[in-house]
Symmetry: C2
Subunit: 481 residues, 2 copies
């Protein structure tokens, strides 16, 4: 009952029926272009932090259908043998472009683009969205939480509340991308080379006859990094005084790395009183870690109130992004290809906001020339050469159409080619290198765009060529159907 | 970059440090009892539907530490060789009791109890909570959604918005336990023998020159189960008329299973108008499936407004329980065992609501004698023989202490022993058998307890013996620490 050693079947049935349908109804080599993008930012933010690319590419490279997978599909009595044979010999032949993990990315911008046979690219929709939606969601939440922590280290402590094992594992990685410094999750530590951390649970304290016995036993075993949970019985009357006794003994034995963790009660007043007690007892360097259902609002409020905190352990609110637990990324056909020519496609809709952008595209971040100050993004057709002056149009179809004269800018493309058939064209950096890259990217955005509450909208434009193409496709459809 | 073939490392670091600590500070055979329970019901419901037991037991049976796991743990420079050797030879020796999957279970009731060596049972905390919290959360959400659907079939369509691959896979299984009839997730279909379903995406329509071309191509390939997505361009002016043309052709060729799917717009009016058009065209049996960000509130409202719906596809709101995405199940020490004697343990807390129940316990559902009408639950010590008349006490420590005279009842235990060492004592029924069991259990509860909004609280009591034990432990702690 494992997820399986590849995600080939972790796919909606209709991807298979469509893929088989494309094989029969169209030329098997009929190609197309799909974009992955999203429309709504979780938590009313203005952008997300892209994450999940590494796993996504590994899954595509590794994708194959085992004999038992084929047998199962055959048993559904939906598919013909030609299609099942195709699956048996499956390997990726698509070209894939994507923005690097850690990139701040705005609504409607293609964070991944897949170009290849329709019947093949269609099969990627479900698991690519599953992976990218999840990890991008958690990286974005971690960015919010670590921003609220204002430089204090945030540790990811959510494994027990994550939505299943892979949510815990890949969520921990995404949390680091978004700014966390460590995880409690040992598997994530091993797989992604992330520092692991943690103290003790209440069960440790309760297993002994008294709190001081439990603390002393711990100190004997882990004298060089003695962090004690002080809220099992009574924080100020028992936990902190007993911790201080333990630290005094350890100090006498030459040890010096001490800390306490508070997991309940009024953190502001408790942490301030605990700080005072520790300082007065001669332990100004003893660290106070807190960890009670924290999120960005609570952290911000605690710091504002003067809580004395050295580190934060954040669990369920981070690992599930519980205030906004869904990133609704979509996988939309942008073009089909016939005889080498791209035929642009869009999804019309009763909801104007769902209008898509046709064609094979690139997204550029625009900087004031000679600076690292980004002031807008621009979505263009991939083969456009950007002129020096652009009469750009707002990308949001819900906004009143506005033209904007862009000039004196430097345009840096965000998507790069990451896979060509079975060939990986990118190597995934260490997860802390991704975090560092992400922080650099964020530093280039206006502060107002990064605000937690009511962020300023960062302008995203499309080129006049892309706008004209979109309008032409709309007219054509509304005449034709 | 897989979750791995077992979850031994998907555990918080502190479980390992505590386990190693128990080995060194206490007798390696020192035993204890842990309970898994929760305090808050998601979505302000009154109970949850237990799920995840099958995966939980498989993980425990399968639990082992590979050489590279041991090497990683050694590299942390925290653990001694005695502990690493213990892990290398790890196998379960605990006794485990649990309520069957599908059981409606109330706050504070132990849904799983683990008795065994502390250093072993401590290692299970994180992954057991991860699995049980997740699957119980989704089964409970599915129960709410399928109840709102009032008998209409609900299909789980959420794979792309699930929080990672295992969330999609096990979430689909949990959705069936909670009442869904099918999933779009092919891997879940294969692994759990669940019917898979689905129609087509907009990309199918867009890949052809016109909607009618796309419909006709589909009908040629899948004539015996022709369900068409009608909202790519304009539902009433294009989608439904084109679908009817397609059905007319198929009908002429002797086919008879038709349907449409609506995925956007005002479902109430669109479905009613579509129904009328289909009926007037001679297709009263054509099914209307809807699928646009549905949840229990929207479904209830649509049905109240007279929307014409034959089936529902529910995605992100089900697979993430997005309105309430965390079940905060906990793993608490209830006793330690010395020389065969149980020493009861509790967690005191500044928050009175977090007070736990000590001892090795059983939970009973109480029925009016001679009926299948449950009227209360009762938590007792496992070795208590329930008398005919019980002066029970309310289990909720936040409630004003109330005594209640219970008599004329039949008490049915909810927990059964499910594992003894490496021996499984239960076989997992087919997932639809679990669903059926769950429905039977629900039928025995008062309707008012199952309401979606403001459900009536179902009474949960503890026996006077358990109450006395809890009070005794409290006094002892408050004197001692």
């Amino acid at each position: 009952m494992k997820v399986g050693d590849n995600l080939a079947l972790l796919t909606d049935l209709y991807e298979f029926t469509m893929s088989a349908g494309f094989q029969r109804a169209l030329d098997r080599e009929q190609r197309g272009v799909f974009d992955i993008f999203y429309r709504q930012v979780p938590d009313n933010g203005s952008f997300v932090i892209a994450a999940g690319l590494q796993q996504a590419l590994e899954e595509i490279q590794n994708m194959h259908f085992a004999k038992e997978d084929i047998a199962y599909l055959r048993s559904l009595n939906i598919f013909d043998e030609e299609f099942l044979t195709y699956l048996q010999n499956f390997k990726n032949t698509c070209d894939i472009w994507a923005v690097p993990e850690g990139t701040p990315i705005f609504p409607r911008e293609p964070l991944m683009t897949i170009r290849g046979p329709l019947m093949e690219a269609q099969l990627y929709e479900t698991f690519l969205l599953n992976i990218l939606n999840h990890q991008t969601l958690i990286a974005s939440k971690a960015r919010r939480i670590t921003a609220a922590a204002a430089g204090l280290p945030v540790m990811e402590f959510g494994a027990r509340r994550a939505q299943g094992p892979s949510s815990a594992l890949f969520g921990a990685r995404a949390a680091i991308i978004g700014g966390a410094v460590a995880t409690s999750n040992v598997l994530a530590g091993k797989k992604f080379d992330i520092p692991v951390s943690g103290t003790m649970a209440h069960s440790w304290i309760e297993a002994f006859d008294s709190e001081i016995d439990a603390f002393n036993a711990w100190a004997d075993i882990y004298p060089d990094n003695c962090s004690l949970l002080v809220d099992t019985y009574d924080i100020l009357n028992s936990g902190v005084p007993n911790a201080i006794k333990t630290f005094q003994r350890l100090k006498g034995e030459g040890h010096s790395s001490f800390g306490i963790r508070i997991d309940s009660g009024d953190i502001t007043s408790l942490s301030r009183q605990a700080r005072k007690m520790l300082d007065e007892a001669g332990f100004p360097d003893a660290k106070i870690t807190i960890s009670n259902s924290l999120n960005e609002e609570i952290i911000s409020s605690l710091l504002h109130q003067g809580a004395q905190i050295d580190a934060l352990g954040v669990g369920e609110e981070l690992i599930t992004s519980s205030s906004s637990p869904v990133l609704s990324g979509v996988y939309k056909l942008a073009a089909v290809e016939r005889d080498g020519e791209l035929i642009p496609k869009i999804k019309l809709s009763a909801s104007r906001g769902k209008l898509t952008l046709p064609g094979l595209k690139q997204v550029y971040r625009l900087y004031h020339k000679g600076t690292n100050e980004a002031f807008a993004d621009l979505i263009a057709l991939k083969d456009e050469r950007l002129p020096i002056v652009i009469h750009a149009v707002t990308a949001d179809p819900m906004a009143i159409k506005q033209n904007k004269l862009l000039n004196n800018f430097e345009a840096r493309p965000l998507q790069t080619e990451v896979m060509n058939g079975t060939k990986l064209l990118t190597s995934t950096p260490d997860v802390f290198a991704i975090q560092k890259f992400s922080k650099q990217q964020l530093a280039e955005l206006p502060e107002a765009t990064q605000r937690r509450l009511n962020p300023d909208e960062f302008p995203v434009y499309i080129t006049p060529q892309l706008y004209a193409l979109q309008q032409a496709v709309i007219s054509q459809y509304t005449e034709n159907y």
